[in-house]
């Protein structure tokens, strides 16, 4: 997602990471109880994981995250006026870039004075399931996160 953000920046596409709540709280990154802790975890996302996009922090009660459906790692694309034009319950860079190519083409068509009418579409996209990386992430969160995931899903 960071690589794509760099490619799209020169085409007037912004990219941000919105920090929500701890999906898999563990001993090293426990559940959030204060904004101070939430800022600290968000900074570690930048410093430890290496997210290079601007990171924004939601309110402690997750008002923005909850409004958009509270999925642990979803992606939405918005127009500059605040209209969602794409929403995906999981994040997949190829899906997002495919959608952005389409919307940038729409922008070019509008600039070419083509008359366009919006309509809504649904489709099913596919993401890579990197089990090894996911479990490494759980181990980074702490043994509690590993144990609880196994108990919930047997993975």
């Amino acid at each position: 997602m960071d690589d794509m953000a760099g490619r799209l920046a020169e085409r007037d596409v912004g990219s941000v990471f919105l920090y929500t709540h701890e999906a898999h709280p563990g001993e090293h990154y426990p559940h959030l109880t204060s904004m101070e802790q939430k800022f600290r975890h968000a900074r570690e996302l930048r410093d430890v994981i290496g997210v290079t996009r601007p990171i924004l922090v939601d309110a402690l009660d997750g008002a923005c995250h909850r409004f958009f459906g509270s999925q642990p790692n979803m992606t939405w694309i918005f127009s500059g006026k605040g209209t969602p034009v794409y929403k995906a319950e999981w994040t997949d860079a190829q899906s997002v870039e495919n959608a952005m190519d389409y919307f940038l083409n729409v922008k070019a068509r509008r600039e070419g004075r083509e008359t366009l009418v919006a309509f809504r579409v649904e489709r099913t996209d596919y993401r890579t399931r990197d089990v090894e990386a996911f479990h490494k992430g759980l181990e980074r969160d702490g043994p509690k996160a590993v144990r609880e995931y196994r108990e919930a899903f047997g993975g």
Binding site: G14, A23, T33, L56, G62, G82, V85, G137
Partner: protein
């Protein structure tokens, strides 16, 4: 639900289905194509901004939701 209950339940302390499943509500999320309301957000330097302020800076903005864990 009181504000403190909401904060505690949203920031669940254990990944157990009874605690995380109630929050997964993507099917009821806003439709595309309609302007959404604004929400306060904060930069990492703890200065306040808002969703609309962020979105207004570009033709389109990609927003990935997530956390360290």
């Amino acid at each position: 639900m009181s504000d403190s209950d909401l904060v505690a339940k949203y920031n669940y302390d254990s990944f157990v289905p009874d605690k995380f499943r109630p929050w997964l509500n993507f099917a009821a999320s806003p439709p595309t194509g309609r302007i959404v309301g604004d929400f306060p957000l904060w930069n990492l330097d703890e200065t306040e901004t808002s969703l609309h302020a962020v979105l207004s800076g570009h033709s389109y903005t990609i927003v990935e939701f997530g956390s360290f864990t």
